[in-house]
Amino acid sequence: MHSVVCIKQVPDSAQIRVHPVTNTIMRQGVPAIINPYDLFALEEALRLKDRFGGTVTVITMGPPQAEVALRKCLSFGADHAILVSDRAFAGADTLATSFALSAAISKVREEQPVDLIFTGKQTIDGDTAQVGPGIAKRLDYQLLTYVSKIVDIDFGKKEITVERRAEGGVQLLKTAVPCLITMLEGTNEMRFGDMADMFRAARYPLKVWDRVAAGIEDVAKIGLKGSPTVVGKVFAPKPRSQRAEMIEVHDNDPQDLVVTLLAKVFTRHPKIEAEIIKRAS
Protein backbone atom coordinates (compact mmCIF):
# COMPACT_ATOMS: atom_id res chain seq x y z
CA MET A 1 0.00 0.00 0.00
CA HIS A 2 1.25 3.47 -0.84
CA SER A 3 0.04 6.55 1.01
CA VAL A 4 0.91 10.13 0.12
CA VAL A 5 0.65 12.66 2.92
CA CYS A 6 0.44 16.35 2.03
CA ILE A 7 1.77 18.62 4.74
CA LYS A 8 2.45 22.33 5.08
CA GLN A 9 5.04 24.25 7.01
CA VAL A 10 3.25 27.10 8.77
CA PRO A 11 4.20 29.87 11.14
CA ASP A 12 3.21 29.01 14.69
CA SER A 13 0.21 31.32 14.64
CA ALA A 14 -0.02 31.30 18.42
CA GLN A 15 3.23 33.22 18.42
CA ILE A 16 2.50 35.77 15.71
CA ARG A 17 2.20 39.34 16.94
CA VAL A 18 0.89 42.41 15.20
CA HIS A 19 3.02 45.53 15.44
CA PRO A 20 1.06 47.92 17.66
CA VAL A 21 1.86 51.00 15.59
CA THR A 22 2.20 49.87 11.99
CA ASN A 23 -0.39 47.07 12.21
CA THR A 24 1.88 44.77 10.27
CA ILE A 25 2.72 41.17 11.05
CA MET A 26 5.87 40.68 13.05
CA ARG A 27 7.25 37.46 11.67
CA GLN A 28 10.74 37.69 13.10
CA GLY A 29 11.47 34.94 15.52
CA VAL A 30 8.18 33.19 14.84
CA PRO A 31 9.02 29.49 14.66
CA ALA A 32 7.90 27.45 11.67
CA ILE A 33 6.10 24.23 12.53
CA ILE A 34 4.37 21.43 10.66
CA ASN A 35 0.69 22.33 10.44
CA PRO A 36 -0.59 20.49 13.55
CA TYR A 37 -3.61 19.00 11.73
CA ASP A 38 -1.26 17.41 9.18
CA LEU A 39 0.40 15.38 11.93
CA PHE A 40 -2.87 13.53 12.50
CA ALA A 41 -2.81 12.70 8.79
CA LEU A 42 0.81 11.53 8.89
CA GLU A 43 0.28 9.41 12.00
CA GLU A 44 -2.76 7.74 10.43
CA ALA A 45 -0.73 6.88 7.31
CA LEU A 46 2.06 5.49 9.48
CA ARG A 47 -0.41 3.36 11.46
CA LEU A 48 -1.75 1.84 8.25
CA LYS A 49 1.83 1.09 7.22
CA ASP A 50 2.39 -0.61 10.60
CA ARG A 51 -0.67 -2.76 10.01
CA PHE A 52 -0.46 -3.54 6.33
CA GLY A 53 3.08 -2.66 5.31
CA GLY A 54 3.82 -0.41 2.37
CA THR A 55 5.23 3.03 1.80
CA VAL A 56 4.51 6.54 3.05
CA THR A 57 5.55 9.48 0.87
CA VAL A 58 5.32 13.01 2.25
CA ILE A 59 4.90 15.98 -0.07
CA THR A 60 4.88 19.68 0.58
CA MET A 61 4.78 22.70 -1.64
CA GLY A 62 6.79 25.53 -0.19
CA PRO A 63 10.00 27.51 -0.08
CA PRO A 64 13.36 25.71 0.36
CA GLN A 65 13.09 26.11 4.15
CA ALA A 66 10.21 23.64 4.16
CA GLU A 67 12.86 20.94 3.91
CA VAL A 68 13.02 21.04 7.71
CA ALA A 69 9.37 20.02 7.97
CA LEU A 70 9.88 17.13 5.55
CA ARG A 71 12.90 15.81 7.42
CA LYS A 72 10.85 15.92 10.60
CA CYS A 73 8.23 13.72 8.89
CA LEU A 74 10.98 11.30 7.81
CA SER A 75 12.19 11.12 11.39
CA PHE A 76 8.70 10.02 12.44
CA GLY A 77 8.93 7.15 9.99
CA ALA A 78 7.87 8.39 6.54
CA ASP A 79 9.78 6.62 3.77
CA HIS A 80 10.09 9.31 1.12
CA ALA A 81 9.81 13.07 0.97
CA ILE A 82 9.36 15.46 -1.93
CA LEU A 83 9.64 19.22 -1.79
CA VAL A 84 7.73 20.88 -4.59
CA SER A 85 9.44 24.23 -4.84
CA ASP A 86 9.67 26.82 -7.58
CA ARG A 87 9.41 30.59 -7.70
CA ALA A 88 6.67 30.07 -10.27
CA PHE A 89 4.44 28.75 -7.46
CA ALA A 90 4.65 31.99 -5.49
CA GLY A 91 1.38 33.68 -4.68
CA ALA A 92 -0.70 30.52 -5.23
CA ASP A 93 -4.18 30.51 -3.75
CA THR A 94 -5.93 27.27 -2.83
CA LEU A 95 -6.94 26.49 -6.42
CA ALA A 96 -3.40 26.93 -7.76
CA THR A 97 -1.94 25.08 -4.77
CA SER A 98 -4.19 22.08 -5.29
CA PHE A 99 -3.26 22.07 -8.95
CA ALA A 100 0.49 21.99 -8.25
CA LEU A 101 0.16 19.32 -5.57
CA SER A 102 -2.08 17.14 -7.69
CA ALA A 103 0.41 17.40 -10.56
CA ALA A 104 3.22 16.30 -8.27
CA ILE A 105 1.14 13.41 -6.93
CA SER A 106 0.39 12.33 -10.52
CA LYS A 107 4.13 12.23 -11.09
CA VAL A 108 4.63 10.13 -7.94
CA ARG A 109 1.87 7.83 -9.14
CA GLU A 110 3.77 7.08 -12.33
CA GLU A 111 6.45 5.34 -10.27
CA GLN A 112 4.18 3.67 -7.73
CA PRO A 113 0.38 3.68 -7.61
CA VAL A 114 -1.06 5.82 -4.82
CA ASP A 115 -3.83 4.18 -2.80
CA LEU A 116 -4.53 6.88 -0.24
CA ILE A 117 -3.81 10.58 -0.01
CA PHE A 118 -3.91 12.14 3.43
CA THR A 119 -4.07 15.78 4.50
CA GLY A 120 -4.99 17.57 7.70
CA LYS A 121 -8.53 18.94 7.83
CA GLN A 122 -7.16 22.45 7.27
CA THR A 123 -4.06 24.55 7.96
CA ILE A 124 -3.73 26.86 10.93
CA ASP A 125 -2.54 29.80 8.84
CA GLY A 126 -5.03 29.76 5.97
CA ASP A 127 -7.79 27.81 7.77
CA THR A 128 -9.60 27.30 4.47
CA ALA A 129 -9.93 23.48 4.28
CA GLN A 130 -9.97 23.87 0.49
CA VAL A 131 -6.74 22.29 -0.73
CA GLY A 132 -7.72 18.70 0.19
CA PRO A 133 -11.02 18.78 -1.71
CA GLY A 134 -9.21 20.51 -4.58
CA ILE A 135 -6.61 17.74 -4.92
CA ALA A 136 -9.27 15.02 -4.75
CA LYS A 137 -11.32 16.67 -7.48
CA ARG A 138 -8.35 17.12 -9.79
CA LEU A 139 -7.16 13.54 -9.40
CA ASP A 140 -10.74 12.24 -9.53
CA TYR A 141 -10.33 10.49 -6.17
CA GLN A 142 -13.23 10.00 -3.80
CA LEU A 143 -13.13 12.71 -1.12
CA LEU A 144 -13.55 11.96 2.57
CA THR A 145 -13.19 15.10 4.69
CA TYR A 146 -13.16 15.33 8.51
CA VAL A 147 -12.44 11.64 8.92
CA SER A 148 -12.31 10.64 12.58
CA LYS A 149 -11.55 6.94 12.16
CA ILE A 150 -10.49 4.43 9.55
CA VAL A 151 -12.70 1.47 10.37
CA ASP A 152 -11.57 -1.04 7.79
CA ILE A 153 -9.66 -1.49 4.57
CA ASP A 154 -10.35 -4.40 2.25
CA PHE A 155 -7.46 -4.62 -0.18
CA GLY A 156 -9.00 -7.43 -2.16
CA LYS A 157 -12.10 -5.40 -2.94
CA LYS A 158 -10.20 -2.10 -2.90
CA GLU A 159 -12.67 -0.69 -0.39
CA ILE A 160 -12.27 1.50 2.65
CA THR A 161 -14.74 2.17 5.46
CA VAL A 162 -14.38 5.32 7.55
CA GLU A 163 -16.21 7.39 10.12
CA ARG A 164 -16.63 10.98 9.08
CA ARG A 165 -17.69 13.92 11.22
CA ALA A 166 -20.81 15.52 9.72
CA GLU A 167 -23.22 18.16 10.97
CA GLY A 168 -25.08 16.67 13.92
CA GLY A 169 -23.47 13.26 13.85
CA VAL A 170 -21.05 10.80 12.35
CA GLN A 171 -21.37 9.19 8.91
CA LEU A 172 -20.15 5.66 8.41
CA LEU A 173 -19.01 5.62 4.78
CA LYS A 174 -17.69 2.97 2.46
CA THR A 175 -15.86 4.00 -0.67
CA ALA A 176 -13.32 2.85 -3.20
CA VAL A 177 -9.56 3.07 -2.91
CA PRO A 178 -7.85 5.24 -4.16
CA CYS A 179 -9.34 8.11 -2.20
CA LEU A 180 -8.31 11.29 -0.40
CA ILE A 181 -8.82 11.60 3.33
CA THR A 182 -8.60 14.77 5.41
CA MET A 183 -8.08 13.87 9.05
CA LEU A 184 -9.90 15.43 11.96
CA GLU A 185 -7.86 16.64 14.93
CA GLY A 186 -7.58 14.57 18.08
CA THR A 187 -7.94 11.29 16.20
CA ASN A 188 -4.56 9.89 17.20
CA GLU A 189 -1.36 10.89 18.90
CA MET A 190 1.86 11.46 16.95
CA ARG A 191 4.51 8.91 17.75
CA PHE A 192 8.09 9.66 18.68
CA GLY A 193 10.52 8.80 15.92
CA ASP A 194 13.06 6.12 16.73
CA MET A 195 16.82 6.64 16.55
CA ALA A 196 17.24 4.84 13.23
CA ASP A 197 14.61 7.03 11.55
CA MET A 198 16.18 10.17 12.95
CA PHE A 199 19.56 9.26 11.46
CA ARG A 200 17.92 8.28 8.18
CA ALA A 201 16.02 11.57 8.07
CA ALA A 202 19.20 13.57 8.48
CA ARG A 203 20.95 11.73 5.64
CA TYR A 204 17.97 11.31 3.33
CA PRO A 205 18.59 12.71 -0.17
CA LEU A 206 15.53 14.91 -0.37
CA LYS A 207 13.86 15.23 -3.76
CA VAL A 208 13.28 18.84 -4.73
CA TRP A 209 10.95 19.22 -7.69
CA ASP A 210 10.58 22.41 -9.64
CA ARG A 211 7.69 23.09 -11.97
CA VAL A 212 9.12 20.97 -14.76
CA ALA A 213 9.99 18.04 -12.51
CA ALA A 214 6.45 18.14 -11.14
CA GLY A 215 5.23 17.73 -14.70
CA ILE A 216 3.55 21.11 -14.99
CA GLU A 217 3.53 22.57 -18.47
CA ASP A 218 0.80 25.15 -18.16
CA VAL A 219 2.19 28.04 -16.12
CA ALA A 220 -1.21 29.75 -16.30
CA LYS A 221 -2.47 27.25 -13.73
CA ILE A 222 0.09 27.89 -11.00
CA GLY A 223 1.24 30.74 -8.80
CA LEU A 224 -0.39 34.12 -9.02
CA LYS A 225 -1.56 33.52 -12.60
CA GLY A 226 -3.41 30.38 -11.66
CA SER A 227 -5.10 32.01 -8.68
CA PRO A 228 -8.61 33.34 -9.29
CA THR A 229 -8.67 35.07 -5.91
CA VAL A 230 -6.77 38.31 -5.58
CA VAL A 231 -5.83 39.71 -2.20
CA GLY A 232 -6.55 43.38 -1.79
CA LYS A 233 -5.85 45.05 1.48
CA VAL A 234 -4.59 43.41 4.65
CA PHE A 235 -5.48 45.28 7.80
CA ALA A 236 -5.89 45.05 11.55
CA PRO A 237 -9.45 44.85 12.86
CA LYS A 238 -10.88 48.24 13.74
CA PRO A 239 -10.80 48.98 17.41
CA ARG A 240 -14.24 49.64 18.86
CA SER A 241 -14.89 53.33 19.06
CA GLN A 242 -15.05 53.09 22.80
CA ARG A 243 -12.85 51.29 25.23
CA ALA A 244 -14.54 49.20 27.89
CA GLU A 245 -16.14 51.10 30.74
CA MET A 246 -13.83 50.20 33.59
CA ILE A 247 -15.33 49.21 36.90
CA GLU A 248 -13.04 50.22 39.72
CA VAL A 249 -12.09 47.87 42.50
CA HIS A 250 -12.70 49.82 45.73
CA ASP A 251 -10.26 48.95 48.49
CA ASN A 252 -9.68 45.65 46.78
CA ASP A 253 -13.19 44.44 47.60
CA PRO A 254 -14.47 42.32 44.74
CA GLN A 255 -17.91 42.04 46.31
CA ASP A 256 -18.42 45.78 46.13
CA LEU A 257 -17.21 45.87 42.54
CA VAL A 258 -19.51 43.14 41.45
CA VAL A 259 -22.51 44.93 42.92
CA THR A 260 -21.60 48.04 40.93
CA LEU A 261 -21.18 45.99 37.78
CA LEU A 262 -24.45 44.13 38.16
CA ALA A 263 -26.36 47.32 38.83
CA LYS A 264 -24.98 48.84 35.64
CA VAL A 265 -25.44 45.83 33.39
CA PHE A 266 -28.94 45.04 34.61
CA THR A 267 -30.14 48.63 34.43
CA ARG A 268 -28.87 49.13 30.94
CA HIS A 269 -29.63 45.70 29.57
CA PRO A 270 -32.87 44.51 31.19
CA LYS A 271 -33.13 41.74 28.60
CA ILE A 272 -30.02 40.10 29.97
CA GLU A 273 -31.39 40.20 33.50
CA ALA A 274 -34.67 38.70 32.28
CA GLU A 275 -32.78 35.99 30.41
CA ILE A 276 -30.78 34.99 33.46
CA ILE A 277 -33.83 34.96 35.74
CA LYS A 278 -35.70 32.83 33.20
CA ARG A 279 -32.89 30.29 33.19
CA ALA A 280 -32.44 30.17 36.91
CA SER A 281 -36.10 29.71 37.74
Partner: protein, 363 residues
Protein backbone atom coordinates in the same frame (compact mmCIF):
# COMPACT_ATOMS: atom_id res chain seq x y z
CA UNK B 1 4.47 30.09 -2.00
CA UNK B 2 2.01 27.46 -0.99
CA UNK B 3 0.10 30.05 0.90
CA UNK B 4 -3.61 29.72 1.06
CA UNK B 5 -5.90 32.31 -0.41
CA UNK B 6 -4.99 34.98 2.06
CA UNK B 7 -1.31 35.77 1.86
CA UNK B 8 -0.50 39.37 1.01
CA UNK B 9 0.27 39.44 -2.66
CA UNK B 10 0.02 42.06 -5.35
CA UNK B 11 -2.69 44.53 -4.43
CA UNK B 12 -5.94 44.19 -6.33
CA UNK B 13 -6.01 46.34 -9.41
CA UNK B 14 -8.22 49.32 -9.04
CA UNK B 15 -10.27 49.22 -12.22
CA UNK B 16 -11.32 45.99 -13.80
CA UNK B 17 -13.61 45.75 -16.79
CA UNK B 18 -15.91 42.80 -16.50
CA UNK B 19 -15.12 40.09 -19.00
CA UNK B 20 -18.00 40.00 -21.54
CA UNK B 21 -18.22 36.25 -20.93
CA UNK B 22 -19.46 37.04 -17.46
CA UNK B 23 -22.33 39.30 -18.46
CA UNK B 24 -24.63 36.29 -18.45
CA UNK B 25 -23.78 35.52 -14.80
CA UNK B 26 -26.53 37.04 -12.68
CA UNK B 27 -28.11 36.72 -9.27
CA UNK B 28 -26.91 35.92 -5.80
CA UNK B 29 -27.24 32.30 -4.71
CA UNK B 30 -27.30 30.83 -1.26
CA UNK B 31 -26.91 27.11 -0.86
CA UNK B 32 -29.58 26.02 1.64
CA UNK B 33 -27.97 23.31 3.72
CA UNK B 34 -30.42 20.68 4.86
CA UNK B 35 -29.71 17.28 6.30
CA UNK B 36 -32.42 14.83 7.24
CA UNK B 37 -34.96 17.60 6.69
CA UNK B 38 -33.26 19.99 9.11
CA UNK B 39 -32.05 23.28 7.67
CA UNK B 40 -28.80 24.54 9.15
CA UNK B 41 -29.51 28.04 10.53
CA UNK B 42 -26.41 29.37 8.77
CA UNK B 43 -28.42 29.15 5.54
CA UNK B 44 -30.97 31.68 6.82
CA UNK B 45 -28.16 33.90 8.10
CA UNK B 46 -26.67 33.80 4.60
CA UNK B 47 -30.02 34.68 3.01
CA UNK B 48 -30.11 37.76 5.26
CA UNK B 49 -26.68 38.77 4.00
CA UNK B 50 -27.45 37.71 0.43
CA UNK B 51 -30.54 39.95 0.41
CA UNK B 52 -28.35 43.01 0.93
CA UNK B 53 -25.93 41.98 -1.82
CA UNK B 54 -28.72 41.17 -4.28
CA UNK B 55 -30.45 44.50 -3.60
CA UNK B 56 -27.22 46.36 -4.13
CA UNK B 57 -26.64 44.57 -7.44
CA UNK B 58 -30.29 44.90 -8.44
CA UNK B 59 -30.64 41.13 -8.99
CA UNK B 60 -32.63 38.28 -7.47
CA UNK B 61 -31.69 36.35 -4.37
CA UNK B 62 -31.89 32.65 -5.09
CA UNK B 63 -31.92 29.69 -2.72
CA UNK B 64 -30.60 26.32 -3.85
CA UNK B 65 -32.32 23.35 -2.24
CA UNK B 66 -31.05 19.81 -2.87
CA UNK B 67 -32.60 16.80 -1.20
CA UNK B 68 -34.62 13.61 -1.46
CA UNK B 69 -38.02 13.53 -3.21
CA UNK B 70 -40.12 14.37 -0.16
CA UNK B 71 -42.64 17.04 0.73
CA UNK B 72 -40.21 18.37 3.32
CA UNK B 73 -37.61 19.23 0.67
CA UNK B 74 -40.12 21.41 -1.16
CA UNK B 75 -41.27 23.01 2.08
CA UNK B 76 -37.70 24.22 2.67
CA UNK B 77 -38.05 26.41 -0.43
CA UNK B 78 -41.10 28.10 1.14
CA UNK B 79 -39.07 28.78 4.27
CA UNK B 80 -36.29 30.24 2.15
CA UNK B 81 -38.82 32.72 0.72
CA UNK B 82 -39.75 33.76 4.26
CA UNK B 83 -36.09 34.55 4.92
CA UNK B 84 -35.68 36.67 1.81
CA UNK B 85 -35.19 34.47 -1.27
CA UNK B 86 -37.01 35.54 -4.45
CA UNK B 87 -36.60 32.21 -6.15
CA UNK B 88 -35.44 28.67 -5.39
CA UNK B 89 -33.83 26.06 -7.54
CA UNK B 90 -35.10 22.74 -6.28
CA UNK B 91 -33.53 19.40 -7.07
CA UNK B 92 -35.10 16.25 -5.66
CA UNK B 93 -33.36 12.96 -6.13
CA UNK B 94 -32.88 9.82 -4.07
CA UNK B 95 -29.11 10.12 -4.48
CA UNK B 96 -29.34 13.39 -2.54
CA UNK B 97 -30.89 11.81 0.55
CA UNK B 98 -27.80 12.15 2.74
CA UNK B 99 -24.84 14.33 1.96
CA UNK B 100 -22.19 12.74 -0.18
CA UNK B 101 -19.56 14.75 -1.98
CA UNK B 102 -19.92 13.19 -5.42
CA UNK B 103 -23.64 13.58 -6.23
CA UNK B 104 -23.88 16.94 -4.44
CA UNK B 105 -20.85 18.35 -6.26
CA UNK B 106 -22.19 17.12 -9.60
CA UNK B 107 -25.63 18.55 -8.93
CA UNK B 108 -24.52 21.97 -7.69
CA UNK B 109 -21.94 22.30 -10.48
CA UNK B 110 -24.63 21.46 -13.04
CA UNK B 111 -26.95 24.11 -11.59
CA UNK B 112 -24.20 26.73 -11.74
CA UNK B 113 -23.37 25.85 -15.33
CA UNK B 114 -27.04 25.97 -16.32
CA UNK B 115 -28.26 29.07 -14.51
CA UNK B 116 -24.99 31.00 -13.99
CA UNK B 117 -25.00 32.88 -10.70
CA UNK B 118 -22.78 35.89 -10.12
CA UNK B 119 -22.23 34.98 -6.47
CA UNK B 120 -22.59 31.64 -4.67
CA UNK B 121 -22.46 31.47 -0.87
CA UNK B 122 -22.35 28.44 1.42
CA UNK B 123 -22.11 27.96 5.16
CA UNK B 124 -18.62 27.13 6.44
CA UNK B 125 -19.88 23.91 8.03
CA UNK B 126 -18.37 20.45 7.55
CA UNK B 127 -20.82 19.98 4.68
CA UNK B 128 -20.40 23.45 3.20
CA UNK B 129 -16.62 23.37 3.20
CA UNK B 130 -16.53 19.90 1.66
CA UNK B 131 -18.97 20.91 -1.08
CA UNK B 132 -17.62 24.42 -1.75
CA UNK B 133 -14.02 23.23 -2.21
CA UNK B 134 -15.06 20.57 -4.70
CA UNK B 135 -17.44 22.78 -6.66
CA UNK B 136 -14.96 25.67 -6.88
CA UNK B 137 -12.22 23.35 -8.14
CA UNK B 138 -14.53 21.80 -10.72
CA UNK B 139 -15.57 25.25 -11.93
CA UNK B 140 -11.98 26.56 -11.61
CA UNK B 141 -13.22 29.65 -9.84
CA UNK B 142 -12.22 31.55 -6.71
CA UNK B 143 -13.45 30.55 -3.27
CA UNK B 144 -12.92 32.57 -0.11
CA UNK B 145 -13.33 30.71 3.17
CA UNK B 146 -14.80 31.89 6.45
CA UNK B 147 -15.72 35.41 5.39
CA UNK B 148 -16.69 37.85 8.10
CA UNK B 149 -17.84 40.67 5.85
CA UNK B 150 -19.20 40.70 2.31
CA UNK B 151 -19.71 43.88 0.30
CA UNK B 152 -20.19 44.76 -3.34
CA UNK B 153 -17.54 47.05 -4.72
CA UNK B 154 -19.64 49.67 -6.48
CA UNK B 155 -17.33 50.29 -9.41
CA UNK B 156 -16.58 46.74 -10.52
CA UNK B 157 -19.70 44.99 -9.15
CA UNK B 158 -17.23 42.54 -7.64
CA UNK B 159 -17.77 40.83 -4.33
CA UNK B 160 -15.20 41.98 -1.77
CA UNK B 161 -14.88 39.27 0.87
CA UNK B 162 -13.14 40.01 4.13
CA UNK B 163 -11.76 37.17 6.20
CA UNK B 164 -9.37 36.69 9.10
CA UNK B 165 -5.84 35.73 8.15
CA UNK B 166 -2.65 34.71 9.95
CA UNK B 167 -4.52 32.75 12.56
CA UNK B 168 -6.96 35.60 13.00
CA UNK B 169 -4.45 38.32 13.81
CA UNK B 170 -5.29 40.37 10.73
CA UNK B 171 -8.11 40.71 8.25
CA UNK B 172 -7.79 40.75 4.49
CA UNK B 173 -10.11 41.56 1.65
CA UNK B 174 -10.16 39.15 -1.29
CA UNK B 175 -11.80 39.44 -4.69
CA UNK B 176 -12.42 37.09 -7.59
CA UNK B 177 -12.36 39.49 -10.53
CA UNK B 178 -11.81 37.32 -13.55
CA UNK B 179 -13.86 34.24 -12.80
CA UNK B 180 -17.50 33.48 -12.17
CA UNK B 181 -19.22 32.66 -9.95
CA UNK B 182 -17.57 34.38 -7.03
CA UNK B 183 -17.75 31.92 -4.18
CA UNK B 184 -17.59 32.45 -0.44
CA UNK B 185 -18.25 30.48 2.73
CA UNK B 186 -19.37 32.08 5.99
CA UNK B 187 -19.36 30.44 9.40
CA UNK B 188 -22.50 29.99 11.44
CA UNK B 189 -23.33 32.96 13.69
CA UNK B 190 -21.05 35.42 11.89
CA UNK B 191 -24.02 37.08 10.14
CA UNK B 192 -27.17 38.11 11.97
CA UNK B 193 -30.31 35.95 11.67
CA UNK B 194 -32.86 37.83 9.53
CA UNK B 195 -36.48 38.12 10.64
CA UNK B 196 -38.79 35.71 8.90
CA UNK B 197 -41.72 37.15 6.96
CA UNK B 198 -44.32 34.42 6.53
CA UNK B 199 -46.17 36.45 3.88
CA UNK B 200 -43.23 36.39 1.45
CA UNK B 201 -43.45 33.92 -1.41
CA UNK B 202 -41.39 33.17 -4.48
CA UNK B 203 -40.92 31.03 -7.51
CA UNK B 204 -39.75 27.41 -7.32
CA UNK B 205 -37.86 26.20 -10.35
CA UNK B 206 -37.46 22.44 -10.42
CA UNK B 207 -34.35 21.12 -12.04
CA UNK B 208 -34.20 17.54 -13.23
CA UNK B 209 -30.89 16.01 -12.18
CA UNK B 210 -30.08 12.58 -13.49
CA UNK B 211 -27.63 10.30 -11.79
CA UNK B 212 -27.67 6.56 -11.27
CA UNK B 213 -27.09 5.35 -7.72
CA UNK B 214 -24.92 2.47 -8.90
CA UNK B 215 -22.54 4.97 -10.51
CA UNK B 216 -21.91 6.69 -7.16
CA UNK B 217 -18.86 5.17 -5.54
CA UNK B 218 -19.26 6.30 -1.93
CA UNK B 219 -22.05 4.64 0.06
CA UNK B 220 -23.45 5.69 3.41
CA UNK B 221 -23.67 2.66 5.67
CA UNK B 222 -24.98 4.43 8.74
CA UNK B 223 -25.54 7.82 10.33
CA UNK B 224 -24.88 7.99 14.04
CA UNK B 225 -26.47 11.16 15.45
CA UNK B 226 -24.69 13.01 18.23
CA UNK B 227 -26.14 12.58 21.65
CA UNK B 228 -27.06 16.23 21.84
CA UNK B 229 -27.97 16.23 25.52
CA UNK B 230 -24.40 16.58 26.71
CA UNK B 231 -22.99 18.43 23.73
CA UNK B 232 -22.23 22.08 24.27
CA UNK B 233 -23.97 24.22 21.68
CA UNK B 234 -21.90 27.37 21.97
CA UNK B 235 -22.88 29.06 18.69
CA UNK B 236 -26.49 29.31 19.84
CA UNK B 237 -25.94 29.96 23.55
CA UNK B 238 -27.40 33.21 24.92
CA UNK B 239 -25.03 33.49 27.84
CA UNK B 240 -21.43 32.32 27.85
CA UNK B 241 -18.80 32.38 30.57
CA UNK B 242 -15.36 31.79 29.10
CA UNK B 243 -11.99 31.26 30.71
CA UNK B 244 -8.44 31.77 29.47
CA UNK B 245 -4.86 31.19 30.37
CA UNK B 246 -5.08 33.90 33.05
CA UNK B 247 -6.76 31.33 35.28
CA UNK B 248 -3.30 29.84 35.74
CA UNK B 249 -4.25 26.30 36.84
CA UNK B 250 -6.73 23.72 35.53
CA UNK B 251 -8.36 23.60 39.00
CA UNK B 252 -9.21 27.29 38.71
CA UNK B 253 -11.19 26.65 35.54
CA UNK B 254 -13.85 25.22 37.85
CA UNK B 255 -14.62 28.84 38.85
CA UNK B 256 -15.85 29.41 35.29
CA UNK B 257 -18.14 26.39 35.58
CA UNK B 258 -19.46 27.62 38.95
CA UNK B 259 -20.50 30.98 37.52
CA UNK B 260 -21.94 29.38 34.39
CA UNK B 261 -24.06 27.07 36.50
CA UNK B 262 -25.66 29.96 38.41
CA UNK B 263 -26.34 31.83 35.16
CA UNK B 264 -27.56 28.82 33.23
CA UNK B 265 -24.76 29.63 30.80
CA UNK B 266 -22.53 27.63 28.46
CA UNK B 267 -18.82 27.43 29.21
CA UNK B 268 -16.36 28.66 26.60
CA UNK B 269 -12.58 28.64 26.48
CA UNK B 270 -9.68 30.24 24.67
CA UNK B 271 -7.35 28.18 22.51
CA UNK B 272 -4.44 27.88 25.00
CA UNK B 273 -6.86 26.50 27.58
CA UNK B 274 -8.19 23.89 25.15
CA UNK B 275 -4.68 22.98 24.08
CA UNK B 276 -3.68 22.57 27.72
CA UNK B 277 -6.60 20.17 28.10
CA UNK B 278 -8.58 22.20 30.68
CA UNK B 279 -11.63 22.26 28.40
CA UNK B 280 -12.89 20.21 25.45
CA UNK B 281 -12.38 21.23 21.85
CA UNK B 282 -16.12 21.87 21.42
CA UNK B 283 -15.79 24.76 23.87
CA UNK B 284 -13.11 26.67 22.00
CA UNK B 285 -14.20 30.15 20.94
CA UNK B 286 -12.32 31.91 18.17
CA UNK B 287 -10.80 31.60 14.73
CA UNK B 288 -9.99 27.91 15.04
CA UNK B 289 -13.00 27.22 17.28
CA UNK B 290 -16.60 28.35 17.36
CA UNK B 291 -18.13 31.70 16.46
CA UNK B 292 -20.65 32.81 19.09
CA UNK B 293 -23.29 35.55 19.34
CA UNK B 294 -24.59 35.50 22.91
CA UNK B 295 -26.47 38.27 24.67
CA UNK B 296 -23.83 38.22 27.40
CA UNK B 297 -20.21 37.07 27.21
CA UNK B 298 -18.09 37.05 30.35
CA UNK B 299 -14.38 36.57 29.60
CA UNK B 300 -12.19 35.71 32.57
CA UNK B 301 -8.43 35.68 32.21
CA UNK B 302 -8.62 36.04 28.44
CA UNK B 303 -6.26 38.61 27.00
CA UNK B 304 -8.32 39.10 23.85
CA UNK B 305 -5.96 38.13 21.03
CA UNK B 306 -7.58 38.78 17.66
CA UNK B 307 -7.75 35.02 17.19
CA UNK B 308 -10.25 34.91 20.10
CA UNK B 309 -11.90 38.20 19.27
CA UNK B 310 -13.10 37.18 15.82
CA UNK B 311 -15.12 34.42 17.46
CA UNK B 312 -16.97 36.49 20.08
CA UNK B 313 -17.07 40.02 18.75
CA UNK B 314 -20.75 39.65 17.90
CA UNK B 315 -21.81 39.35 21.57
CA UNK B 316 -24.29 42.04 22.66
CA UNK B 317 -22.51 42.70 25.95
CA UNK B 318 -18.96 41.66 26.79
CA UNK B 319 -17.66 41.78 30.35
CA UNK B 320 -13.92 41.22 30.66
CA UNK B 321 -11.91 40.39 33.74
CA UNK B 322 -8.14 40.59 33.44
CA UNK B 323 -5.34 41.59 35.76
CA UNK B 324 -3.49 43.41 32.99
CA UNK B 325 -5.09 46.80 32.39
CA UNK B 326 -3.38 46.90 28.97
CA UNK B 327 -4.89 43.61 27.80
CA UNK B 328 -6.36 44.04 24.30
CA UNK B 329 -9.71 42.68 25.46
CA UNK B 330 -10.47 45.99 27.20
CA UNK B 331 -10.36 47.69 23.79
CA UNK B 332 -13.48 45.89 22.65
CA UNK B 333 -15.25 44.68 25.80
CA UNK B 334 -18.15 46.82 27.04
CA UNK B 335 -17.31 46.50 30.72
CA UNK B 336 -13.88 45.87 32.11
CA UNK B 337 -12.63 44.82 35.51
CA UNK B 338 -8.93 44.96 36.20
CA UNK B 339 -8.32 42.35 38.82
CA UNK B 340 -7.63 38.79 39.74
CA UNK B 341 -10.13 36.49 38.03
CA UNK B 342 -9.68 33.93 40.78
CA UNK B 343 -11.20 36.41 43.29
CA UNK B 344 -13.68 38.12 41.00
CA UNK B 345 -15.29 35.02 39.53
CA UNK B 346 -16.43 33.69 42.94
CA UNK B 347 -17.63 37.17 43.88
CA UNK B 348 -19.66 37.35 40.67
CA UNK B 349 -21.10 33.89 41.27
CA UNK B 350 -22.16 34.88 44.78
CA UNK B 351 -23.62 38.23 43.67
CA UNK B 352 -25.64 36.64 40.86
CA UNK B 353 -26.87 33.95 43.22
CA UNK B 354 -28.09 36.58 45.69
CA UNK B 355 -29.65 38.68 42.98
CA UNK B 356 -31.50 35.70 41.58
CA UNK B 357 -32.74 34.65 45.01
CA UNK B 358 -34.15 38.15 45.50
CA UNK B 359 -35.71 38.20 42.07
CA UNK B 360 -37.34 34.87 42.77
CA UNK B 361 -38.76 36.17 46.03
CA UNK B 362 -40.05 39.30 44.34
CA UNK B 363 -41.41 37.32 41.39
Amino acid sequence: MSDSNDAPRKPARKKVELDPRFLSYKHVWVYIEAERGEVHPVSWELLGEGRKLADQLGVDLVGVVLGPPEARTRAICEEAFHFGADRCYLVQHDALRDYRNEPYTKCLTELVDTYQPEILMLGATTLGRDLAGSVATTLATGLVADCTELVIEAESRCLASTRPTFGGSLLCTIMTQRHRPQMATVRPRVMAMPDADASRTGEIIEHAFSIVETSIITKILQFIPDDTRDKPNLPFADIIVAGGRGLKKPENFQLVWDLAKVLGAEVGASRPVVQAGWAELDRQVGQSGKTVRPKLYIAAGISGAVQHRVGMDGADVIIAINNDSNAPIFDFAHYGIVGNAMQILPALTEAFRKHLAQARKAG
